[in-house]
């Protein structure tokens, strides 16, 4: 299991500070939900933690080691807008299984079965509905058997049934031991899923506390305003 520690994590472009000196420790077994208003830096934080972009300064340690390609191979990310290969549903799974040289067919069918897409295995991936595409993206990420999975608003603009389907898959993965770091704006969803909440505001870490504590007794004004639905600038 990978534990995370960041030290003074900062991201600047053209003198604008998007992520501002974030010090964060995440427990390996927790279901972590990242919250904050649009532009708070949630997606950038996930990309930094996953090593897709490099910090301007500050460090990220996974199990005490700086980020490297070996660590990234133990992680996976699902983006808000699923990026699917222009191939069949099955071929999308085969692609990542091929990266790990895993036994293909049986495992692929099992993976698709788990996300309810087995009957669509021969369909072009981009012909699926948005909810099904997101389930496929999630299945593909889980096919790499990651120790940590980052989810960047995976249920944004999905219908309630699709949201529940995604949540069920993510919760199963968490039960199986995968560390989840999940961005959402949905307060109900955060309450349903989170063990701990990371709350960002204007690139700064404002709160990192247990979900119960965050929702019952937020300690900062931006978090209170966010939970009450007030506009925070």
């Amino acid at each position: 299991m990978l534990s995370l520690k960041t030290k003074e994590l900062t991201l600047k472009y053209d003198k604008i500070c998007y992520i501002n000196k974030i010090n964060l420790i995440l427990e390996p077994k927790h279901f972590t939900v990242v919250m904050g208003a649009n532009g708070a830096g949630k997606s950038l934080l996930l990309r930094l933690l996953h090593g897709l972009i490099n910090p301007t300064y500050g460090t990220i340690y996974w199990n005490g080691n700086p980020m490297n390609s070996g660590i990234r191979k133990q992680q996976a990310m699902v983006f808000q807008r699923p990026v699917l290969l222009r191939r069949s549903v099955a071929a999308n799974i085969d692609f990542v299984l091929g990266l790990k040289n895993s036994g293909m067919q049986d495992k692929r069918d099992e993976i698709l079965e788990n996300v309810g897409l087995l009957e669509f295995r021969k369909h072009p991936a981009r012909m699926l509905s948005v909810g099904e595409q997101q389930r496929l993206a999630l299945a593909r990420a889980l096919a790499t058997e990651p120790e940590v999975i980052f989810l960047d608003e995976p249920t944004a603009s999905l219908d309630p049934a699709s949201i529940l389907a995604i949540e069920k898959i993510v919760k199963n993965a968490h039960t199986d031991g995968t560390k989840i770091i999940f961005i959402t704006h949905e307060l109900g969803q955060a309450k349903r899923l989170a063990d701990d909440i990371v709350f960002l505001h204007q690139g700064k870490l404002i709160e990192h506390t247990s979900a119960t504590s965050f929702f019952d007794n937020p300690s900062s004004e931006p978090a209170r305003a966010y939970l009450e639905g007030r506009i925070i600038l």
Partner: protein
């Protein structure tokens, strides 16, 4: 004008007559240009993909050179290949001058930059879409290149067509390295040039019509393949 219509009538008659010489010329033209296109694609697609996904010092000038080479003058290519394949040249011992192989080599050099440059653009667009996901999965470069070529295959068909069009229509390079030898290296474009200079306009026109028809037929076939398979794959 009367002469043109008469020549056209004769041309159609010749084109549909099944003339053995005409068929030989057509088949050789197709063999040379399709082989050149195939080899140029085998080299050009991976090269284009590598240029699309790589960031290195001097990438800009390399792209400028590849793009500039799209406009290579065929006679210059023909001359350079001629100098290499002639008896005194570095590859003279192979005895390739005035053979279809020499014509294929010249056409490969002519169309490879076109295929590499256009496929670079196609694949770069696709890579912009895939890049973050590939990085997330730590996809090795070789696999990324293969995946991008495969997923961009329908767009790359159009790129291949552009190369084929350039190859089948050019005359300058193949006439220099092929020599337009009857029953050996005579292709449609060189035959058209020869028959026109001899004043045999019906045969020149017939070859011209066949050339146009072939270009149209190959384009139509590839486009319909692209539309059909593209629709099935939703790409």
């Amino acid at each position: 004008m009367q002469e043109f219509f008469e020549a056209t009538r004769l041309a159609f008659a010749l084109a549909f007559s099944g003339d053995a010489d005409l068929i030989e010329i057509i088949l050789l033209s197709l063999r040379v240009s399709l082989t050149a296109m195939l080899v140029a694609c085998i080299i050009g697609f991976p090269l284009g993909a590598l240029l699309a996904i790589s960031r290195f010092t001097g990438r800009g000038p390399v792209l400028v050179i590849i793009n500039a080479l799209m406009g290579l003058p065929p006679v210059v290519v023909g001359l350079i290949v001629y100098l290499h394949l002639s008896r005194a040249g570095p590859m003279g011992s192979f005895g390739l001058l005035y053979t279809p192989t020499a014509m294929i080599i010249a056409q490969i050099i002519l169309i490879m930059p076109i295929i590499a440059a256009l496929s670079r653009q196609v694949i770069e667009d696709l890579h912009n879409e895939y890049a973050e996901q590939f990085r997330s999965f730590s996809v090795p470069r070789s696999k990324a290149v293969r995946a991008l070529i495969w997923d961009g295959r329908y767009s790359l068909l159009t790129v291949a067509l552009a190369g084929f069009g350039r190859a089948i229509a050019e005359v300058g390079a193949v006439i220099i390295v092929g020599g337009n030898i009857d029953h050996l290296t005579r292709v449609m474009t060189t035959a058209i040039a020869l028959e026109t200079s001899k004043g045999d306009l019906p045969l020149a026109l017939a070859l011209g019509f066949v050339l146009l028809f072939l270009a149209l037929a190959v384009n139509a076939a590839v486009m319909s393949l692209r539309i059909t398979t593209g629709r099935i794959s939703n790409v």
